[in-house]
Amino acid sequence: MVEREVVVVPEAGLHARPAKEIVKIARSYKSDVTVARNGREANARSLMKLMALGAKKGDSVLVRATGEDEEAAVEALVGLISSEED
């Protein structure tokens, strides 16, 4: 298992487009990937659960992956969550 803490950078938080992007990326890996905020954990392949975390810009979230490509999956998601989006 690999996990990394990251601060949400996109203006919109993990809503709308950033969330859709995360789901798309998460589905492209074989590992199970989750995003957690305040102890609540969401399957990163589920748009509903991910949006329901209500993570805003500036919040800290924990990205965790378990599986054969766990390192790459966490890397990709952390990159997405910590980069600007218009």
Binding site: H15, R17, K20, S46, M48, K49, G54, D86
Partner: protein, 543 residues
Amino acid sequence: MPGARLEGVAASEGVAVGPAFVHAPDELEPQRTGIAEGEVEAELERFRGAIEAVVAQISEARDALSESGSEEAEILDAHVEFAGDPELHSEVEERVRNLESPEAAVLAVGEEFAGLFAGMEDEYMAARADDVRDVTSQIAAQLMGLRSSGLAGLAVPSVVLARNLAPSETARMPREMVLGLVTAEGSKTSHVSIMARSMGIPAVVGVGAEALERALGAGIVAVHGDDGYVVTDPDADEVAFFEGEQAEAATERAALEAYRHVEARTHGGRRIEVAANLGSPKEAADALSWGAEGVGLFRTEFLFMERDELPTEEEQYGVYREVAEAFGEKPVIIRTIDVGGDKDLPGVSGHEEENPFLGWRGIRMSLDVPDLFRPQLRAILRAAAHGNLKVMFPMVSSVEEFVEARCLLAECREELEREGAETGPVEAGVMVETPAAALCADELAREVDFFSIGTNDLTQYALAVDRGNEKLEKLYRADHPAVLKLIEMTCRAAEKAGIQTGVCGEAAGDPALAPKLVALGVTELSMSPPAIPRAKKIISELP
């Protein structure tokens, strides 16, 4: 006795009178809540089938919306995603394995998920609860064999009254059967209002639950979508009034019809070209049908936004060629990319700006990032072989900037010629939107092939008034003497140099402003396509 009057929000313009149709969808009450052990596999199969059917239905409704990337399309995109959500599936499947019927299970899980959103402080997020419920109800309805929402079966043209309408319901409404919409809930920006405007259906929303309750027994309902009120069971006088308003609108439309395809000339014989502002080549056919004599502003930003990589020259060439071919000999002015440095462009390092409107944008960015600019110029030059293309640079504030851009254009042309690629002639102009450009119009006019005045930005820069600031609404005036003087200076300089001056801001399509612009010497007006017939009529009535 005159009918009752309900006040609401004017959500979508137009007037309608017709029989009331009350849309009160039944609460989805599953008949069967439990299943037998032996039925589990078959019920799971049924659940998966229902998901597939609902995903297909929503996708179909989404594809029927003409504009992709529009707000409605985005809502339905999220619904497709929700219907296919793996967490939703696994939780429902678990309940079914515990002998709950799939319809009861999907409603319960939907309610649970919706609850996660409903509790949020953020108004936007709280509203997503309705999206979740909308989707899970559709799946449950599918499982229960209740396909039509009631509205789909509307057989007589009617005014629809409802507490609220879900996006899935509005998207699938038979357009020709809905004369008008009245809802208890909603605001100008809610789903139902956005949908009504894009479908051209008069609508009044937010009349309140009590008022709607009183209206439910009405036989005939009149909707005034411009003024935001509804009259139930109108008496003869009121019906006559509404019919008068309708007839007036129809007469105006018919009167304008005659001007659609004329070449606009003033009484004095001055020819004024009336062109369209377009944001994508898909809008070309519609613009031509409104009578566009060309494209005064073709925005290219859509090519660059919401994607991971910059568009290739080949992709841009395809788009520019498509619009060039659609307009044939008619001129099409392509504006090179105009986004602020605050927007993230793939491959261009974005950064926060204190003041993006005075920042790194338009030609300033293009000149700094040749990887962005050159492919666009090359694509325009190549597409020009297939029509009458011109190029226009935004945010120019000095002669040097234009000269630099024009040199780059010439370099690109030489490059293409060396490669043996086919190109066409391309005139190069500037968009006059900084006061500096207007004040230097004499010097600029010696270099450029044409001017096009962007009145929206010119007004905000000249008056130092942010056009997005509601508190400053009264101060934002395109007919302020300072703005008119800048326009006049631009026109005089153009006349001296023997070049044309167009206007492609909102002022061009404004019936009150167009005559002033023509009087100042503007030779082309470019606007949103539906405004074209009215503009031609106004021009024809000028001295």
